[in-house]
Amino acid sequence: MLTRLKGGHVVDPANGVNGVTDLYMKDGQLVSAPTEPLSADEAIDLSGHVVMAGAIDIHSHIAGGHVNTARLLLPEWHRAFSSRPGETALSRVGWTTEETGLRYAEMGFTTVVEPAMGPQAALHAHLELADIPIIDKATLVVLGNDDLLMSMIRDGESEAAIADYVAWTVASSRALGVKCINAGGSAAFKDNVRAFSLDDQVPDYGVSSRQIVKTLQKAVHDLKIPHPLHVHCNNLGVPGASSDAAEATIAASEGLPLHLAHIQFYGYGTEGKRGFSSEGRRLAALINANPDVTVDIGQVMFGQTVTISSDELRQFAGRAQASPKKSIIFDHEANGGGVVPMDYKATSFFNALQWAIGLELFLLIEDPSRVFFTTDHPNGAPFTTYPDIFALLMDREVRARWIEALPKGVAKWTSLPEITREYTLEEIAVMTRASPARLLGTSDRGHLGAGATADISVYRPSDDKAEMFGKAAYVFKDGRLVVKNGSVVARPYGRALTLKTEADKGMEARLDRYFDEAYGLSAQWFKVRGEALGRETPFREVSCL
């Protein structure tokens, strides 16, 4: 069936379109306009609406062992729980797999990346992803604290061998890319190290964090994995040390692409009597000057949330700030992690400045194709706060109102009040559609050209950008209408996007032995098979470069 989407204002920067035009879709894909427009079987009038490709979130913790542990740890936040009077901020979150899909779709998001899948928890993550309706999903698999990688570096094994190991991990876990989280930090923490920087060495291995990052960056590049190594730097959240870590890591890109996650959490200096200040302007300048680097923000918004991270060292340190006072820390094999509840208070100088630093970075990084829209859900804030963030970026009056409400003394520690920039619709489309698709290598999405997957979000223009982006007028997923007037009307299941790659046979045999001998585990257990997920089409493969 040929459907004509008629008369909408199409904002499709990937194809240079920004104006009123018709779109056509057939069998779940966008197609070229037929010679006879009236030949469409169905026409949907979108005049007066803004039409974009479905939005893509490149970094949102939506599934897997740590996310589920957070659910287990925090039953008291669940909305339905015993009809308790009063609701917490997080009680509005899509907390279950079901709600995750619905809430994202309602905002016009159609692809979301879970960025921290431990290799041993890959099946768990994919089982959860399989239960998330509507949206397509993808994962980044975590390496960089694993015994084998660090041993291979120490023993001077070849780049090719390391690349084979990385390829095996990506293929087994059905990931789309590779993430490295405080490289070596969790392993060092297991040796009772409590502070760890880029040039510190992991005890026993004698390998530095920098070596691990550089090795993985090279392997990802050599394997032609589209998404560059996704780096969670050392010293997250530590005033002074965090911005040093980001600066050093940016400098370490050295001509190859590198993605730095939730950069806001690194924008902290040590000035002032509280020893906490903004390095947002300086970090933005460094990023502007280094075209190899892309970043996502990890914007903080006020309210109760929970931090979920495989940065075990950092999460352990964060236990002291847990609110409510409880946390779960994991010593996984070859990895670690932690779940620490967090209450970002609008009345707190620190939290207010964190909020401002995120926006500084959003607004001072000049190229919207190198900065990505995230809250590091739920670490900075639940993804349900996105509409408010769109408003903050697109409307300086909204920003002024928020700044006015900040605690006394915060405004003078941030350049935010002087920044007049407002994101345009086109820049929003670059940041949340065109550019994420390019970063992930998923050329079938993020744009509305012929051949693209018909993931389309349609918004009713409004001066209130939060309203506009909070409830999409229509959302099409694979050409099917799934959201109308901000409410879900159909809930098909999407797929997990996985990288089309194959493991080397020699490495396969080596890892069979390694996991058995080193850990008493079967290497086969790491392999995610589609049949275990109980969906007709669990995966869609994405090609390497």
């Binding site: 039953p75 008291e76 015993s82 009809s83 308790r84």
Partner: protein, 269 residues
């Protein structure tokens, strides 16, 4: 204006969620709107009128004629006015209440007075487990107000209690005052199990003795404390006669597994 009366037509087949029946939520509703309040907990979508006859009008003076162990969440979040139940109540009676008064002439289920912040809850019969305690995952139990149970109480009474007073005239079940943070628990009968496990601060007056205390409670000897007499008098004024009179008791300090600043008073015997 006469008080609002809910007369139970018969034993309900399913558990009922009676949390809408507090003055704050009933104020301004017409009789027919009250009849239509959803109080069921199954897909039948039971309405109040299916289960209760309603009479009277004063929402600040609510009375349930007839009780059942299936009547859950009576007085949940109450901040003012009074509720009297002639009969039994189910789970979570007076949970998270901030003010006002609830009297139950029969017995209560689990989590009575759970995480309550203020007001007064009197249960003339017995109470179930976790009296005044937190809901799953919550880090705070009772943080204010007063509870009196004239019968006995179930396991883990005063769990994670932070402030306020609980008086149990009868026995209390296993491991009362577990994880207590502060506040006062007074038990007239016997405290079963090991009371005070993981308590950081707070006061237990166990007039009928304890089955055992953990080795992380240290004997501080007999104490004739003026504070005990003052306490007996003050609590007596608020909640009626208390099951201890302020005469000397043996004091223990603990739980030293954690902070160890709690105190347990046992009879000299």
């Amino acid at each position: 204006m006469t008080g609002l009366v809910f007369r139970l037509k018969g034993e309900p087949e399913e558990r009922l969620d009676l949390s809408p029946l507090i003055p704050e939520r009933l104020d301004g509703l017409t009789s027919s709107e009250i009849q239509k309040l959803g109080i069921g907990t199954t897909k039948r979508d039971l309405k109040l009128g299916d289960v209760f006859d309603v009479s009277g009008a004063d929402v600040s003076d609510i009375r349930f004629e007839g009780g059942s162990a299936r009547l859950d969440k009576i007085g949940l979040g109450l901040s003012k006015g009074s509720i009297r139940v002639e009969g039994d109540v189910g789970f979570r009676c007076g949970r998270a209440m901030r003010g006002g008064a609830i009297t139950v002439t029969g017995s209560a289920g689990d989590l009575a007075g759970s995480a309550m912040e203020g007001g007064e809850l009197v249960i003339q019969g017995s109470a179930g487990a976790r009296l005044g305690g937190p809901e799953a995952g919550e880090t705070k139990g009772m943080s204010g107000g007063a509870i009196r149970v004239q019968g006995s109480a179930g396991e883990r009474a005063a769990d994670r209690m932070r402030r306020g007073t609980i008086v149990i005239d009868g026995d209390c079940g296993l491991d009362a005052a577990s994880r207590m943070i502060a506040g006062t628990l007074i038990v007239g009968g016997k405290a079963k199990g090991t009371p005070g496990r993981l308590m950081k601060r707070g006061t237990l007056i166990l007039a009928g003795g304890a089955e055992r205390l953990a080795p992380t409670f240290l004997d501080c000897g007999p104490q004739d404390l003026i504070i005990l007499r003052l306490m007996a008098r003050a609590i007596g004024e608020e909640l009626g006669a208390v099951p201890f009179d302020g005469s000397p008791m043996r004091r223990y300090g603990g739980d030293t597994a954690v902070l160890g600043m709690g105190e347990v008073f046992l009879p000299l015997r």
